[in-house]
Symmetry: C2
Subunit: 148 residues, 2 copies
């Protein structure tokens, strides 16, 4: 039986973003691992396949995978592919750390804009359901933002 557990990443890339492409993709994969959408041992797309799919250069993918390997999220089996590697403990911890970080960033910006806790509560109520219904994961990009 063929090894058909190739993982598809459904994300958009914003080439106009101030955030480099490789960083957008890297975050997307990391997020997928932390959320356990990508599971232990699961095979990532091959360098060439992902490069083709995302319309970016294979070298860029190598860079991403290599960095993720250094950070301990994946490992490589030369000739076979890249595979997800997760330490349950680390995962749990990292997941919460990221949650805290994103929350802090969000609150800082929102306060700077002059919105209150109640304002935030209201908009969250509205958006949360909407996003949750569209169960598919959303775009990770445009933490950057076009310069146009």
């Amino acid at each position: 039986m063929k090894q058909e557990e190739r993982t598809f990443f459904e994300f958009k890339i914003d080439v106009k973003s101030a955030l480099p492409v490789y960083e957008q993709v890297k975050r997307a994969i990391k997020l997928a691992i932390l959320s356990q959408r990508l599971k232990e041992g699961e095979k990532l797309m091959s360098l060439r396949e992902l490069a083709l799919k995302l319309q970016i250069n294979p070298n860029t993918i190598i860079k991403i995978y290599t960095q993720l390997e250094v950070e301990g999220y994946v490992y490589s089996r030369p000739g076979a592919g890249y595979f997800v590697k997760v330490d349950k403990e680390k995962l749990k911890k990292e997941r919460f750390v990221l949650f805290e970080k994103e929350t802090q960033d969000y609150i800082a910006k929102v306060i700077e804009l002059g919105y209150s806790f109640d304002d935030v509560l209201e908009i969250l109520k509205r958006y949360f359901n909407r996003e949750n219904d569209a169960a598919n994961f959303k775009n990770i990009e445009d933490t950057g933002g076009s310069n146009a």
Copy 2:
């Protein structure tokens, strides 16, 4: 009487961030204008002064100010300085647009991480007060993130 309404930007820059320095600074200033912490007609720091303070090159500041000018947030009086320019209508609108955008980004990430509305509510309650007490504006950086 000397024109002493120089505006100080109290932000940190993360040179290791994936987000370019000029983009971090630009966002910080834009946010300050949208929040009306920087008011109509107020003088920005001079190119050299801000460059010195942030420990970055004056050319980078010129780039930032020029872009903000194109986007209609400031205007320049050669020899005198850069000044805040805000259209009340535009400001109000932009402020809310940014609020929505930040909220959507935040929710998307949080859902991907597998946290629920209740989780978000809880952490927001905790952090919101803490941040609000430290009334001074927070760091804008590390939307990027070190590659170390």
